[in-house]
């Protein structure tokens, strides 16, 4: 008997990703004898699903607006598995156009994606890594008005999008810099990538939202996601408090570090970059 899940899908109808999210949700619920959460009713009357939500939750988003994920986050629901249909179609080289009524071929695809979701590891599941990521021993800093922006001087690489990679052997943890977290202000949401996802350099390795803005985390390095930080996903303020150590977002197995390095800075170079950026920084709070 498969593990039972509650499934919260996208409720979109105006793009193919929405109807496909619905079909995948139905297939998951049917296969695991789970519970389907209607996002519209849940939004209006969350108590209706209190019992169903005792089950571990799968969220299925249609498109990049991620309404289902946002709804779950607003209600403090813990998501154990996630799927975004438009992104998955792209990864599979499938078209996201055509009729809004899924044909037999697409229904079969939905069935396969449902099976894959049911057999996927939970988000935040422990990786088999033995790699130890030591805390930085030395920080440099830039002071601008009342702000102090810190940068680890060794072992971290940075891109100009204010994201870092802490490289140890063929692994790296990635996250956002102190400068970026202070620009965003208090973080309210952190969506890590899917474990197993292949990430290109400058590809999205998750995203963060604050009371002020939304930002993609653009990976300094290319590789496969082997772990995500469940603490950052559940309590994103950890990224504000400790962006370089406890606030890591994902861990990657590296695929092309030497090539990636060409477009990265070490600690001292990034500190210099932050100094120039800070000179133009006009905090708006």
């Amino acid at each position: 008997m498969a593990e039972r899940f509650a499934v919260l899908p996208c409720n979109g109808l105006d793009k193919l990703a929405g109807p496909l999210a619905r079909e995948i949700a139905l297939a998951v619920v049917e296969a695991c004898k789970g519970e389907l959460i209607c996002p519209v009713l849940y939004n209006n009357l969350s108590a209706r699903y209190a019992k169903a939500l005792e089950l571990p939750l799968i969220v299925i988003d249609g498109c990049g607006t991620r309404c289902a994920t946002k709804l779950a986050t607003e209600h403090g629901l813990k998501m154990v598995r996630k799927l975004q249909v438009a992104e998955t179609l792209k990864e599979l080289g499938e078209s996201d156009g055509g009729s809004l009524t899924p044909d037999a071929e697409r229904l079969a695809l939905c069935q396969r994606l449902a099976e894959k979701l049911l057999s996927a590891p939970d988000e935040g599941a422990a990786s088999n890594t033995e790699v130890q990521f030591a805390e930085p021993v030395e920080y440099g800093s830039v002071t601008h008005d009342k702000f102090i922006f810190r940068v680890p001087m060794q072992d971290y690489l940075f891109n100009e999008n204010h994201c870092w990679a802490h490289v140890v052997g063929n692994r790296a943890r990635v996250g956002i810099s102190d400068y970026m977290q202070q620009q965003l202000t208090d973080l309210t949401f952190c969506e890590p990538p899917r474990i197993g996802a292949r990430i290109e350099q400058f590809g999205e390795v998750g995203n963060v939202e604050s009371v002020k803005s939304v930002a993609d985390i653009l990976s300094p390095v290319s590789g496969h996601v082997v772990a995500v930080n469940p603490i950052a996903a559940e309590t994103p303020e950890i990224i504000n408090e400790d962006p370089y150590v406890r606030g890591w977002v994902a861990e990657l197995e590296l695929t092309d570090l030497e090539s990636d390095r060409q477009l990265l800075m070490d600690g001292p170079a990034y500190l210099d970059f932050v100094r120039r950026q800070a000179a133009q920084y006009k905090p708006n709070r």
């Binding site: 607006t65 100009e160 350099q201 400058f202 939304v214 653009l218 477009l263």
Partner: protein, 96 residues
């Protein structure tokens, strides 16, 4: 030095900015409301929204596309742009 370079390459040489598919765009202006870099500009008449300041766009950022319900925004191919930046850097290094 200003922020008009990316990894030492002049921002003007890097073709990274959104393209609006006017067949899909419903002019909800969510992208313009979202973007803090004034990449977009609203206009009287048709079209009501244009990519007026493409070099203001943060290289490799696609965050505005996520606000777009009708999926009317597209960006260049990232790996191709990365290769281009590396090529320009190598050329500029060779030319001293």
């Amino acid at each position: 030095m200003s922020d008009t370079t990316f990894m030492g390459v002049s921002r003007e040489k890097i073709p990274w900015c959104p393209t609006i598919d006017y067949a899909k765009c419903d002019f909800c202006m969510e992208c313009d409301k979202f973007c803090p870099h004034q990449v977009y500009e609203r206009r009287e008449g048709n079209p009501q929204l244009v990519v007026a300041h493409p070099t203001n766009c943060v290289v490799f950022c696609r965050a505005c596309a996520k606000t777009c319900g009708p999926d009317a925004l597209s960006f260049p191919n990232k790996p191709e742009v990365i290769e281009l930046i590396k090529r320009i850097r190598a050329e500029e290094e060779n030319n001293g």
